[in-house]
C-alpha cells in the first residue's frame, strides 16, 4: 500500500481517536452504554486499522505478537484475582463489596471497573492476536487482484 497517501494520513489522525474512544467506553461503562467487551474490540480495531494501512511489520513494532498473547491471559488473571481477593477478605467469590468493606457500594464500583478492565484486556488481546495470525499468513496481495 505504498501509494495510498490519503488513507495513511487519515489513519494516522483516526487511530488516536479510536483508542481514546475505546478507553472512554472502557472506563465510562458504568454510566454510558458499552463496557469491557466493546472497549476491547474498539481498541483492537484501532490497531487493526493501523495494521491494514501501514502494514503488519509497523503495527507489530508497536505491539509485538508476544505481548498480544500475554494480554489474552492477563485479562482472565485480573478478573480471577479480583474474585480470589474477595475470598481472602471473607466475602463470597466475586463479591465486590470486599474491596471496600466499610462502604460496599464503592466496592461495587471498583470491582466492576477492575473486572471490566480484565474483560477488555482479554478481548483486545484475542482480537489483535487473531488478526496477526491471519495477516501473517496471507500472501502479499496486489490491489489489482480485486
Amino acid at each position: 500500500m505504498k501509494h495510498h497517501l490519503v488513507l495513511k494520513v487519515v489513519t494516522k489522525i483516526m487511530v488516536g481517536f479510536i483508542i481514546l474512544f475505546a478507553l472512554y467506553v472502557q472506563f465510562h461503562g458504568d454510566y454510558s452504554p458499552g463496557g469491557g467487551f466493546q472497549a476491547g474490540v474498539i481498541f483492537a480495531a484501532g490497531f487493526i486499522l493501523y495494521g491494514l494501512v501501514m502494514g503488519l511489520e509497523n503495527v507489530q513494532r508497536v505491539l509485538p505478537p508476544w505481548i498480544a498473547h500475554k494480554l489474552m491471559a492477563l485479562g482472565v488473571v485480573i478478573y480471577t484475582l479480583v474474585g480470589i481477593y474477595s475470598f481472602f477478605v471473607g466475602f463470597n467469590f466475586l463479591d465486590y463489596g470486599a474491596l471496600t468493606p466499610s462502604h460496599p457500594e464503592h466496592g461495587q464500583h471498583y470491582g466492576i471497573l477492575l473486572v471490566e478492565l480484565g474483560v477488555g484486556i482479554t478481548v483486545a488481546g484475542v482480537v489483535i492476536s487473531v488478526y496477526y495470525a491471519f495477516a501473517s499468513r496471507s500472501i502479499k496481495s496486489q490491489d489489482e487482484e480485486w
Partner: protein
C-alpha cells in the same frame, strides 16, 4: 433492507462483495437494536459484526479464493426445504409470545424488575446492563472471558499464530 442485504450476500458471486454485504447487514441490525433500545448490543454488533468480522472474512478471502464456486439450483433444494421448515417452526413458536412492549411480558415482570429496582440501591451506577453483567452475573462474565480466551488460543493454534512469535532469547 436487512432482507435485501441478506439476499445480496447469497446473490453476489464475488466474495469481496459478499463480505461487504454482510458488513452492511451487521450495521443495519445494529440500527435495529438501537431502535429496540438495546444500545449495548447495538454497540457490540457494530464493532464486532460490522468491523472485526468483516476484516477477518476479508483476510480469509485473501488466503483462499476470490470467487464463489458455481453451483446448480437443484443441489440446494433440500437445504432450502430445511431452512423453510426451521423458519416456519420458529415463526409458529413466536405466535405465542407476548406482544412487543407489552407490560405483562415475563421479561418485564420477573427478575428484570428486581434488577431495575435494586441496582441504584446496591450498586449505585446508572447503567443497569453493566451492573447485571459485571456484578449480579459476575460469575457468568468470568466464564465468558475464559471462553473468549480459550477460543482465541484455539484459533491461534489452528492458524499457527504461535509459531515464530516468541521472544528470541538465543538469537538476540
Amino acid at each position: 433492507m436487512l432482507v435485501v442485504s441478506a439476499i445480496g450476500v447469497l446473490w453476489v458471486k464475488h466474495l469481496f462483495g459478499a463480505a461487504m454485504f454482510s458488513g452492511i447487514f451487521s450495521f443495519l441490525s445494529a440500527l435495529l437494536f438501537v431502535m429496540l433500545d438495546a444500545v449495548d448490543v447495538a454497540f457490540t454488533e457494530a464493532a464486532v459484526g460490522a468491523g472485526v468480522s468483516t476484516i477477518l472474512v476479508l483476510a480469509t478471502i485473501i488466503l483462499t479464493k476470490r470467487r464463489a464456486k458455481e453451483w446448480k439450483a437443484s443441489e440446494n433444494l433440500r437445504p432450502l426445504a430445511l431452512v423453510i421448515l426451521t423458519g416456519g417452526i420458529l415463526i409458529y413458536g413466536s405466535l405465542d409470545m407476548p406482544e412487543f412492549g407489552s407490560s405483562t411480558a415475563p421479561a418485564q415482570t420477573h427478575v428484570g424488575l428486581t434488577y431495575l429496582e435494586s441496582t441504584p440501591k446496591q450498586i449505585g451506577i446508572p447503567n443497569v446492563v453493566t451492573a447485571v453483567l459485571a456484578s449480579y452475573r459476575g460469575f457468568d462474565t468470568l466464564g465468558e472471558t475464559a471462553v473468549v480466551f480459550t477460543a482465541g488460543v484455539g484459533v491461534l493454534v489452528l492458524l499457527g499464530g504461535f509459531i515464530g512469535t516468541r521472544r528470541r532469547k538465543d538469537q538476540g
